[in-house]
């Protein structure tokens, strides 16, 4: 039988892999990939709490759906910003981005 702890441990590993990537990567696109990992771990938790602890409700399910929609919107805007920055500065490393205005 699949215990709830196993899935929570799995999502904890995913979450803190994302935290590690967020702290260490240089490229902004790699940082965005780490953010997607963290959002995904939170989604798994929403779904599993809904499924195993409150199976009569729908809250976790709908929160997961809305989180997916918002994450897609967020990554689209972030990628548009990255492409614009690359067009101006020819570089998207976080260490090189020192000015907001050009």
């Amino acid at each position: 039988m699949i215990q709830i702890e196993y899935i929570l441990v799995l999502s904890a590993i995913m979450m803190f892999a994302g935290v590690f990537g967020f702290m260490t990567r240089k490229s902004t696109l790699a940082i965005l990939l780490s953010i997607e990992l963290m959002l995904n771990a939170a989604n798994i938790n929403f779904a599993v709490f809904n499924r195993m602890l409150y199976p009569q409700g729908h809250e976790g399910y709908f929160f997961a759906i809305f989180t997916i929609a918002i994450a897609a919107a967020e990554s689209a805007i972030a990628i548009a910003i990255m492409i614009n920055i690359y067009r101006q500065l020819k570089n998207i490393d976080v260490d090189e981005l020192t000015k907001m205005k050009w």
């Binding site: 441990v9 790699a30 990939l33 779904a47 009569q56 997916i68 897609a72």
Partner: protein
């Protein structure tokens, strides 16, 4: 060993290794590909839980849409030549420390808490009402108790703003 347990072990190994490889691999294109594996494994977990609509949304929106967007963005900026580069040793050790502390803290909480599990995965139970497309559609546009019409409309306005902003930000001047 039941088939669900075997499936869960396979998916868990794929997801855990994939998420570690996503943050470890030097090439960003490889990292995006490992993230695709992680997202598909997560969709498999949702299917295992019986949340088929959520799994389909995960596959279509994340694996089909967001990853393609990322790969396009990576190739439009610097592509495969953009390595993660030499990372600062102090930053790496701080990140490792923070991640390990977080994992240990979360594991301590998860293992010591008592979970009142109502519905086991893989065991048919009368308390589980399976969430079908019908339920999703009715709750999504309902204004009654447990209706989600306000978040639904807010997300649609957000998506509209996102489309307009994406065009405005990324257009050539």
């Amino acid at each position: 060993m039941e088939s669900q347990n075997i499936m869960f072990v396979v998916l868990a190994v794929i997801v855990a290794l994939g998420s570690l490889m996503t943050v470890m691999s030097k090439s960003i294109v490889r990292a995006a590909t490992y993230l695709l594996v992680v997202l598909l494994g997560t969709a498999g977990l949702y299917f295992l839980m019986g949340y088929t609509f959520l799994g389909s949304v995960q596959t279509m929106v994340y694996a089909g849409g967001v990853i393609v967007l990322y790969v396009f963005a990576i190739l439009l900026t610097r592509g495969q030549t953009d390595k993660a580069g030499k990372t600062n040793g102090a930053v790496t050790s701080w990140g490792l420390l923070l991640a390990l502390a977080g994992v240990v803290g979360t594991l301590a909480v998860v293992c010591t808490a008592t979970w009142h599990v109502v519905a086991e995965i893989g065991k048919p139970s009368e308390t589980t009402n399976s969430i079908t497309m019908d339920t999703v559609g009715h709750n999504m546009i309902s204004t009654e108790h447990l209706g989600y019409v306000l978040p639904f409309e807010a997300v649609s306005v957000l998506l509209l703003a996102c489309i307009v902003a994406g065009i405005v930000i990324a257009r050539k001047r």
